[in-house]
Symmetry: C2
Subunit: 227 residues, 2 copies
């Protein structure tokens, strides 16, 4: 292209930095994270954010789509494992560690785009396969459903301790906190294996996770390319 990209490379780098910063700030500040904080953390001006996304919501929607891609990838990788249990265990660990509880706080605050809905469906299907395989192999306790596991992932993904240390900038303790959470994950995984007494209550219905994203379903299906 002839005269079309004087500082294109910098723009690309900034876009990447923005997404990473948004994820981090969202995890730390929750749903009320401000665009100023995000831009500052990315080391760019606020205008650079609004040049790529028409609004704060659109940035968050794009971020959700990217995170859903990661979930899908993790599930696919899990399914490629020979050992059904190892595949599921790695999927759970991966989801907890990379999502960092970023998307939970967003639920109900942004509209669900068609793109997000499609990816959510796909992710859900893959995960059900993963769970079914572990059930069939007898590795996963038979009374634990995919919903139980989804909730567990979300529950452990959002770590109050790590978020607070992040907020206070205690970088010296963050490694220790991550190590501690790895142990919590290991405990939960051990609890998911076969050979335990029956779980209490009834299995949670899928509606619990599906309905929480319900919002005002506006259109918004724009891809976040440049203007």
């Amino acid at each position: 292209m002839a005269r079309r990209a004087p500082r294109h490379a910098e723009a690309e780098r900034n876009d990447q930095a923005l997404l990473e910063a948004a994820k981090k700030v969202l995890a730390v500040d929750g749903a009320h994270a401000s665009v100023a904080t995000i831009a500052a953390r990315a080391g760019v001006g606020i205008a650079s954010l609004y040049r790529r996304y028409r609004s704060k919501d659109e940035l968050f929607q794009h971020l959700c789509a990217l995170s859903l891609d990661q979930w899908i990838q993790a599930a696919e990788r899990g399914l490629r494992h020979d050992d059904p249990w190892e595949g599921l265990a790695h999927y759970i660990s991966a989801c907890i560690e990379f999502s960092g509880g970023s998307l939970g706080p967003l639920a109900g605050t942004i509209a669900v785009t068609d793109e997000m809905a499609a990816k959510f469906t796909r992710s859900d299907e893959l995960m059900h396969d993963l769970v079914a395989r572990a059930h069939a192999a007898g590795a996963l306790r038979s009374d634990a459903t995919a919903m139980d596991i989804s909730l567990l992932i979300e529950q452990v993904g959002k770590s109050p301790l790590i978020e607070q240390l992040d907020r206070q900038g205690r970088t010296d303790l963050i490694d220790a906190a991550h190590n501690a959470r790895k142990r919590t994950i290991a405990i939960a995984l051990d609890g998911l294996r076969s050979g335990h007494p029956r779980l209490p209550g009834t299995a949670p219905t899928p509606a619990l996770l599906a309905e929480r994203w319900e919002h005002s379903p506006t259109d918004s299906t724009r891809s976040p390319g440049r203007s």
Copy 2:
């Protein structure tokens, strides 16, 4: 008492309502819960809040002290159990369910009063006894420390799903969400029993939980009675 309490009963009721509302709103809105929201939820005017607490922080400090009392009570009740494991399990369940993750978000945002520090120490001691007893009985896996359990309680106490449903007023789904969390707790408890492979990494140090409350240690040791 002669002429000293025209509407004393109502004041007492309001005080109770305020504390309950503050706990709920804190769990739902996080550390940036506003006094207006709290007063509205309690069904009282803002002035009634400031008549009993000189500031928002003082209300939160009082709330922390009360929650610590609950933790202490739960530990004492656990220690009275004949079965060491049952005692520990009930303690964990109770802490998760009544605290509702209210205090986590406060960590680092309010000053620690002497009263809070003393109760924290007491609670810590009791919990160590509880864990030591379960270890001695061989019911609790030997590589799980009191710190692991404290972190697990905090981790599961703060439930993103329940908080969001609360925020959206989906009272129809809240029961289902609580049932689902009970199952998560059961999974974690199963993972804490003896007979599992060794936990990864090294045991987390007590500093992780202690230092997070560090703040500007002002004085503030006033009891929240009337003016």
